[in-house]
């Protein structure tokens, strides 16, 4: 390989646009996996890894990554991202909580152990390996929970671009304005990831913020 080719390759590597790694973070059962699945179905040409969805907290216990997803917005702009669906962030995991969903003790303990490992890994990644965050909140819940407070603070301290998705607006008691009032410094997009309501607005916001 000649000098000019080597120089050209080095330049192209230097200026090559890196695929952004976007983490979907939030408390358990906010709808992170539903969003990750929707993004994958909407934008990935070859079907990706679908995360399992359930009413039992901590269904996602290991981060699930879908790579090279190109999203195009209403303006025609696009981004190519890797989506990382992370376990629900919490400061406590008690296996007894899972017994109430009909799991036997052994299964509940295994689930709790996997959940703690997943959360620890997700927190580590947030400090080391994530370029932007879609932070999911359940719009039917109080946004003032400590996990939300801490996580938004952590994301801000890392100077990571963030879009807040106020999810579950299809439910009658959803109040996305409370999330918007709580976090006016960030774009808050009311959305239903399950029904697809206002999902295009979320994609537009992701392109605007992460591009």
């Amino acid at each position: 390989m000649g000098f000019s080719q080597t120089f050209s390759m080095l330049l192209s590597r230097l200026f090559q646009k890196k695929t952004l790694r976007i983490g979907i973070y939030g408390p358990p059962n906010a709808g992170k996996t539903t969003l990750a699945n929707r993004i994958t179905h909407d934008w990935k040409e070859v079907s990706g890894n679908d995360g399992k969805i359930s009413d039992i907290p901590h269904e996602t216990r290991k981060a699930l990554r879908n790579e090279n997803i190109s999203i195009t917005g209403s303006s025609g702009n696009s981004i190519t991202i890797d989506i990382v669906d992370t376990p629900g962030v919490t400061t406590k995991v008690d296996y007894n909580e899972f017994l109430e969903f009909g799991l036997c003790k052994e299964e509940a303990i295994k689930r709790a152990r996997e959940a703690t490992e997943g959360v620890a890994e997700a927190m580590h990644w947030l400090r080391e390996d994530i370029d932007g965050v879609v932070y999911m909140m359940d719009a039917t819940e109080d946004p003032f929970i400590q996990v939300n407070i801490m996580m938004v603070g952590i994301i801000e301290s890392r100077n990571l671009p963030v879009v807040i998705a106020a999810n579950k607006i299809d439910l009658p008691d959803a109040a996305p304005h409370t999330i918007r009032n709580a976090f006016p410094q960030h774009p808050v997009i009311p959305v239903s990831c399950l029904e697809g309501m206002k999902i295009d607005e979320l994609y537009d916001a992701m392109i605007r913020i992460f591009r």
């Binding site: 400061t91 406590k92 995991v93 709790a112 952590i154 801000e156 709580a182």
Partner: protein, 122 residues
């Protein structure tokens, strides 16, 4: 005599302590059933590490994690939550923080003027 131990740790004591040491100090006490009140809160980086370390120490029937609550400090520009969020930097003022075992400390009420929690014996 039954009761709950409460440790109030001064900002001065934590000021020059490395983050890892600070988190170990908190978790050791909380795992023993102590309620820890920090005069100054943790930085976001320390909070992140605290969550990670907590997860690594959870054990069935022994330790199910922590409850952590922050008392809001002075008002800043932005939303209500920004009063809770921007903490940890000495320049931004101290934020009282309460940390306890998840099975003993339960938040009752939290607003801009009041943090109310219920503490039970383990």
């Amino acid at each position: 005599m039954q009761g709950v131990r409460v440790d109030l740790i001064s900002a001065n004591r934590l000021r020059n302590m490395p983050s890892t040491e600070k988190i170990q100090l908190i978790l050791e006490r909380v795992r023993e059933g102590t309620i820890v009140i920090l005069e100054s809160g943790l930085s976001p980086q320390e909070q992140s590490e605290l969550i990670e370390m907590t997860m690594m120490q959870i054990k069935p029937d022994q330790f199910s994690g922590i409850e952590i609550e922050t008392y809001p400090g002075r008002t800043r520009q932005g939303g209500v939550l920004s009063r809770f969020i921007h903490q940890g930097s000495p320049d931004e003022g101290s934020r009282l923080t309460v940390i306890g075992p998840a099975n003993q400390l339960t938040l009752i009420q939290k607003n801009k003027d009041l943090l109310s929690a219920w503490i039970t014996t383990g």
